[in-house]
Symmetry: C2
Subunit: 192 residues, 2 copies
Amino acid sequence: MTDKQAPARVRRSPEQVREAVHQAVIDLLSDPDGEDLNIPAIAQRAGVNHTSVYRRWGSLDALLADMVTTRLERDSPLNDTGSLRGDLLAWAQASVASIRTPQGRALVRAVVLSMPNSTQAQDERAQHFRRRMRSIEQIRERATARGEDPPPLEQILDQLIAPFYVRAIFGIDPPDHGYPELLVDRLLGDRN
Amino acid sequence: MTDKQAPARVRRSPEQVREAVHQAVIDLLSDPDGEDLNIPAIAQRAGVNHTSVYRRWGSLDALLADMVTTRLERDSPLNDTGSLRGDLLAWAQASVASIRTPQGRALVRAVVLSMPNSTQAQDERAQHFRRRMRSIEQIRERATARGEDPPPLEQILDQLIAPFYVRAIFGIDPPDHGYPELLVDRLLGDRN
DNA sequence: CCCCAGAAGCAAATATCTGTGCTTACGATG
DNA sequence: CATCGTAAGCACAGATATTTGCTTCTGGGG
């Protein structure tokens, strides 16, 4: 009596629904053939009633933001390597590896899509960005605590984060060999 | 008899409609309060019947692509300064100036939004990118013709284009002073 | 073991978007 | 100035997306 001869469809717990919906978003963004992202499609792919999605998240933006936050935290281990250079390199390596997969690129695109579309006072967008850059700020804080002098966040943005995002967005594969090292060397090499 | 006592609404020529619709897209992306971008909203803002938009462009993606192409070409003069460095600097200065305005940032975001959402063979996305980078390739070609040795497109992507795009997307203002020079110097300074 | 709060599923109503047939104005051409 | 092709506008007809009222299940505390 493990399953009751597959009755229409079993009801799942909130956490299962949440995970299934998140995964459906990634699947739709990465895998298929150009359908556009909307809540009915997501719900169907997740095998969840669309009303559940509407009631829980309310809008596609909110769903994307929730998914992105969850996944970014889950996928960045961020263990302390003992040096600024090591931490940055680990971050770059993980990031480059991730954007080699369609799912990884989809996650980055979701970050962009989840940015508040409006916001005349663009502070909100900048805050959104800060939240996404939490891990980089932690690397900087640890470096400072060690007595190292990390580059300002803006420079890390320009030389490390930006190439990673833009390549993911435009689907430009990073060079095969030594790319994370190249970016980190450029960043730490000359400190203008 | 210049205007007939403002009858419901005068019909405009195709070119006027096109321009009005393009402008409406930029307005909706930059200015207002978070409404999402869709064809009825664009048509209403442009003062155009929505069927005209559907018939001419067919989809939001196509409209965005058309608008982006038109505006990017119009807004990049690309006069030959006589040197690679001068051309890159001019490009960077124009780009940085443009993303200081909400409309400029909106245009960049539209570039991202107009990227094909699907495309398992991501070649199409890369081609889309190439088309957008036409001006940069022209700068490289001119430099080669002069006997200069421009950096590969990939490096220009990482060090010049990427910071520009990411800042526009996340709404991070560039540093007030000397930012274009900083980026170009970094790019041309060390040639790893 | 029973009860309750919270959330999922279902069905149906509403709102919104997308597409079609037709009419009418614009502007180019002769 | 007359004619004609193109594209805009209008009204209406699907097709989709969003929301609501209600029922039913799940899991945690008494």
